[in-house]
């Protein structure tokens, strides 16, 4: 059976996922934790309580929790080699993993992107989708590669934008899909099943942080 690690900057979401996969008698082999860096993310930070509860959960479940200042640390490579871990899931908000870490996991690192891929790459993808009058917003699960959201797409879930505010859309995506997508890919990796990658023929532009003047146009 494959050994799977978890990179996290979102302790509470990790606990929820641990609960879901724990129901099926599985668990992560290692969890790498690093705090958020950007000040702008402070509002979204899950706080010190999040880390404490993750520590407690790991203690109960017998999972190794490794706290790091930076997820690109050499320690990650050493530990993954030591325990022969070949794939990972990532709850990353403001870190770009370097190629050494990416190459270290043979079966890849998977993470979700808040936006419909391949159309909306980059930051604030769903906001851009609403601003551009797109019918759908959504969430995608991809295998990480060197580029920005250019990895192979595994799952894409869409919801209709009609008559919904941006906050409602984000909430719906979070509660309906996000953690379940991670659960799905975890089980596929654990049971060594074939991962259904989607073919993409066209490269779409990358979006960046939206300025306040433009986000005023979004409900």
């Amino acid at each position: 059976m494959n050994k799977i690690a978890c990179f996290t900057q979102r302790p509470l979401q990790t606990i929820i996922l641990m609960y879901l996969i724990g129901k099926k008698n599985y668990n992560f082999d290692v969890i790498f934790y690093s705090p958020l860096k950007k000040k702008s993310f402070n509002k979204k930070n899950e706080g010190a309580f999040g880390l404490k509860s993750l520590e407690y959960q790991c203690k109960i479940a017998g999972v190794r929790l490794i706290k790091l200042k930076n997820l690109n640390s050499v320690k990650v490579i050493q530990i993954s080699k030591k325990y022969k871990i070949n794939s990972a899931l990532a709850f990353i908000a403001d870190t770009i993993l370097n190629s050494k870490i990416l190459n270290c996991f043979k079966k890849g690192i998977y993470l979700t992107h808040g936006g419909v891929l391949p159309n909306y790459r980059g930051v604030d993808a769903n906001k851009w989708a609403i601003l551009k009058g797109s019918k759908f917003s959504g969430i995608s699960l991809i295998k990480l590669d060197k580029g920005v959201d250019t990895g192979k797409i595994v799952f894409v879930k869409k919801i209709i934008n009609y008559n919904k505010t941006h906050k409602q859309i984000e909430k719906e995506i979070y509660y309906k899909f996000k953690i379940y997508l991670y659960e799905k890919i975890f089980l596929l990796l654990k049971l060594n099943k074939k991962i259904p990658f989607k073919k993409v023929h066209k490269k779409f532009p990358q979006y960046f942080e939206m300025v306040n003047e433009l986000s005023k146009f979004i409900r």
């Binding site: 551009k132 990358q206 960046f208 300025v211 003047e213 146009f217």
Partner: protein
């Protein structure tokens, strides 16, 4: 001035976050004027992308200059 590869210069400015005042101030006069020329070019260009408007607005707040009006943006949307 006509820019052959608008997209790559746009990506360069966004990725290096040169619209932040501190970073912009560190640049040489030549680089600054090149960026300003590019912003004016983007502003005048008819085939405007909403991402380019976003970049212009970022530079507006950094340089405290007005390049584009909100009405124009509304019309564009």
């Amino acid at each position: 001035m006509v820019y052959k590869d608008v997209e790559s210069f746009f990506l360069f400015l966004e990725r290096n976050r040169l619209f932040i005042k501190k970073k912009f101030d560190r640049l040489s006069k030549r680089q600054k004027s090149r960026i300003l020329q590019f912003i004016v070019y983007l502003n005048d260009n008819k085939k405007k992308d909403i991402r380019y408007i976003n970049l212009i607005l970022k530079f507006e707040s950094a340089l405290k200059k007005k390049f584009i009006s909100i009405h124009k943006i509304k019309n564009k949307l």
